[in-house]
Every structure is written in structure tokens, then in C-alpha cells.
């Protein structure tokens, strides 16, 4: 395969990607001017947010327990002073594990959900039927999901962090006899941590619907095609989360975290 023919084959995908980025960005700022039914953003917020709530709470609680357990074991082995574990745990949860693990979970649930829905719309000609009625699939389908995901990723992360702190405090109290009052100590959280966490949530919340919407809309070929595009959406949005985590953490390390 020559580079030219590769480019030629990639051209429709690149065109779709350009539309996705441009329309979603524009749509997010001018909600009223774009073209989707009223209440669609609320419906998607329910779909993405409320229906992932239990999943995020359970997974983040267990991850909170594991992280606290591992840390306490290690600290016991070295210094034996467990009083700082809670404060440090909350700090790292806010700027790193909370947003990133929550987004990894949402990449599987929300990413797969969006790609499966849009992919089966493509292979059953529903996207063409929208076009016949002069509806742009990106304005109509992606923009509401994009806006809903941006809002709900932040909300779910907040709840998830709460669950993880609660579960972590329980683990520390039962397994290592750390007083929960000592454990739940947010004093180490700086403004820089909050800003880092916020940027991560926003970036993940934007990336997941875009990546999985792209995978869903480029599905082709029956039920096998829907399966393939859903798989690609999970893998691509999870990988996107890891790369964004790395990039934002790196930038934060040199800017926000170096401030006292």
C-alpha cells in the first residue's frame, strides 16, 4: 500500500473527524443554534450519568480500598506512621486517580454504549434516513452526547472520589486501625490539585464521546461491523484517557505542582 492510496482511504475518516471536532466545539458553545430535539441533552445526561452512577460508585469504592490497603502496607513496612496516609490519599485522588480511574470506567461503559448505539444506527440505514430529512447526524446525535458527557464526567468523578474516600477510610479503620477523623483530612489538597483534576475531567469528558462517536459513525457491515466499532471505541477511548492523563500530569508537574 502506497502512502498516497493510504491517504486516499483515510480521507473520509479525516473529513468525519474534522466535522466532529468543529461541530462539537461549536455546538457546545451555541447550544440553541444547533439542531437536536429539546430535552435531548437531559436525556443523554441521564443515559451517561445516572445510569453509570452505580457502576462508578462500586468500582471507585473498591479501587479506593485497594489503593489505601497497598499504601498502608508499604508505609507500615518503612515508617509505620499512618497518620499522613489519608491526607496524601485524598490529594492524589483529587488530581490523579479520581478523574483517571473514573474515566477509564466511563470509557468502557459510555464509550461502548455510544459506539454500539451509533454503529447500529449506521448499519440499519438510520443515519441515511436522518440525512433524507436534512438532519446532520453530528449536530443531532453527537453534540448532545458531547455536552452531556462533559458535564457528567465531572459530576461522576466528584461522587466517585467521595465513594473512594469513604471506602478508603473504612479500610484504614478496620485493617490498620487508623481513626477515620485523622484519615479524612483534605488539608493537603492544594488549588493546583483541584485545577489539575478539573482539566482532566474536562479533557476525558470531551474525548470519550468524540472518539467513540467517530468509531460508531464509521461502522460498516452488519452486526460484525457494530461489534468491531464498539471494540474499537472501548480501546481507543481508554487509550485516549491514558495518553491525556500522561500529558496533563506532565504539564501540571512542571507548572501547578511546582508552586508551593
Amino acid at each position: 500500500m502506497t502512502p498516497i492510496s493510504l491517504l486516499h482511504r483515510a480521507a473520509p475518516s479525516l473529513e468525519l473527524l474534522r466535522h466532529l471536532l468543529w461541530r462539537s466545539g461549536r455546538g457546545a458553545f451555541r447550544l440553541r443554534a444547533t439542531d437536536f430535539p429539546r430535552g435531548e441533552v437531559w436525556r443523554q445526561m441521564h443515559q451517561i450519568g445516572n445510569r453509570s452512577l452505580l457502576f462508578v460508585c462500586v468500582t471507585l469504592s473498591f479501587l479506593g480500598m485497594v489503593l489505601v490497603f497497598q499504601t498502608c502496607l508499604q508505609v507500615n513496612r518503612i515508617t509505620g506512621d499512618l497518620s499522613q496516609v489519608g491526607a496524601e490519599f485524598i490529594k492524589i485522588l483529587v488530581h490523579e486517580f479520581g478523574p483517571s480511574l473514573c474515566a477509564m470506567m466511563l470509557a468502557t461503559r459510555v464509550g461502548a454504549g455510544i459506539a454500539a448505539e451509533l454503529g447500529s444506527m449506521v448499519v440499519t440505514d438510520q443515519i441515511d434516513a436522518l440525512a433524507m430529512n436534512n438532519v446532520d447526524p453530528i449536530d443531532y446525535l453527537i453534540v448532545p452526547r458531547f455536552v452531556a458527557s462533559m458535564v457528567m464526567t465531572g459530576a461522576l468523578t466528584t461522587v466517585g472520589v467521595g465513594c473512594a474516600v469513604f471506602a478508603g477510610a473504612l479500610t484504614a479503620a478496620y485493617s490498620f486501625h487508623v481513626n477515620p477523623v485523622v484519615f479524612v483530612d483534605p488539608s493537603h489538597v492544594r488549588i493546583g490539585d483541584l485545577v489539575t483534576g478539573f482539566f482532566k475531567c474536562a479533557a476525558y469528558g470531551a474525548a470519550i464521546p468524540l472518539v467513540s462517536g467517530f468509531c460508531g459513525l464509521s461502522a460498516q457491515g452488519g452486526s460484525a461491523g457494530v461489534g468491531r466499532s464498539t471494540t474499537r471505541a472501548v480501546i481507543a477511548s481508554s487509550f485516549m484517557v491514558i495518553v491525556l492523563d500522561f500529558v496533563i500530569s506532565g504539564v501540571a508537574y512542571f507548572t501547578l505542582q511546582s508552586a508551593p
Partner: protein, 248 residues
Amino acid sequence: MTAMVECRSLCKSFGVRPLLDRVNVRLASGEICGLIGSAATGKSLLLKLLCGLQASDGGEIFIAGRRLDASSKEELQQSRKHIGMLFQNNALFDFMTVRDNVAFPLVRSGATSAEEIRERVHQTLRAVGLSGSEEKLPAELSGGMKKRVALARALVARPALLLFDEPTAGLDPVTTARIYELLGAEQARTRATMLLVSSDVDGLRRFVPRLLMLHAGRLRYDGPSDKIDSSEDEVVRQFVRGADEGPL
């Protein structure tokens, strides 16, 4: 009479395989026409080209005298308002109820009031025999019911050109007969131009006065449906008779 649909030397190929090779079709306004051909000969593709869902490689398409394939996005949207399409696998929006699905073309065209939309949806659903299923989701319907909802959605805005991709595929003979009857009644009322693609050659022949046959990218037959048996083309004769021996 002006032509509703006119294609001049229309070409389309995927990769190296030509699916349509210099095809000329002309449908007068108010005409009913059937399109037949073996599987994967580009019948569905021709319909998608006619409503601008696919871009052609060459040739010209005119819908009601307006050039479709070289038009701007706004002109294309304007042309599509006069086209109703029934997709091969119905393409019902599975997140909408039957009522919302059928109302969709009217809601999107924006020209009608809410009261009128409700009345038209009710009428159309009654015409296809689906009164009382308004609040159901497509997933709760049987295959024949889905087809009739899709039909209602294609008809509801009373477009001047109707394209049907396999309107009777997978349906029992009674439902098939009802659907043809329904299409006939609709045509008598609105004088719309209809182009039907079907693999059910016999049923289609009884309904349409004119037949087209696509084979290997070329139009092999274009004429009255009762004369197709005595076509000079051996391929056409074999296809229509379903004979085992012949050039196919």
C-alpha cells in the same frame, strides 16, 4: 409532461468493479416503475444516488428538472424535501416511538402546525393499518409492522417522488398484497412518481406497468412489464422466467 427523474449516463464503481455503467433512466411525472435485477447489481445503489445519499462518479441526475449531483447543500436539502424513501431494512429510529418516527419528516420540514401533524400521522397510520400502535417502540413490532411504519414515514409528507427499496421483502403473501394495494391507492390520490426495487418479480409485475432490469451495470430492459417475457435479450428472459439454463 416534464420528467420527474432523469439520469444521463450515470456511472458508479467501488474499487475496480463498476456497479453502474452509463445508465440512462427517465421517469415521467406520475409514473410507476419497477426495478429488478440479481443480487448486488446496484439496485439499492441507484436509489441512494437518486436521493443524493451517495455521490456518483460520472453522469447527471435531475429530479423534477433540478440538477441533483452538482447542487449545493441547500439545493440538495430542497430537493430531498420532495423525495420519500423506504429503506431496505426500514431504518426506523429505534429510540423514537412509532408516532415520532412517522411524524419526523413533518416535524423536520417545519411547515405544518402541531395539530396538523397529529392529524396527518393519525391518518397515515390508519391507512397502513396500524392505528393503536402509536406509543410502541420499533423493537416491539413484528417485521411486517415495521415495514408498514417505515412506509407510513415515507408517505406522510406526500412527496412527489417515492423510492421504495424492497417494500415487500420478508412479508407473507397477504401482507404483500395489502402493501401493493396501499401503494396503488396512495398513487391514485397523490399522483406521485414511484420507483420500486424488489426481488419479488412476479408480484412487482402485477403492480407496475413499466419495468427496468439492471444487469452487470447496464440497463438490459426498459419497457412494459407484460412484454418482458418476450424480450429479445436472453439474460432478461432467463431472469424473469427463473430458468436454470441460460447465460446467467
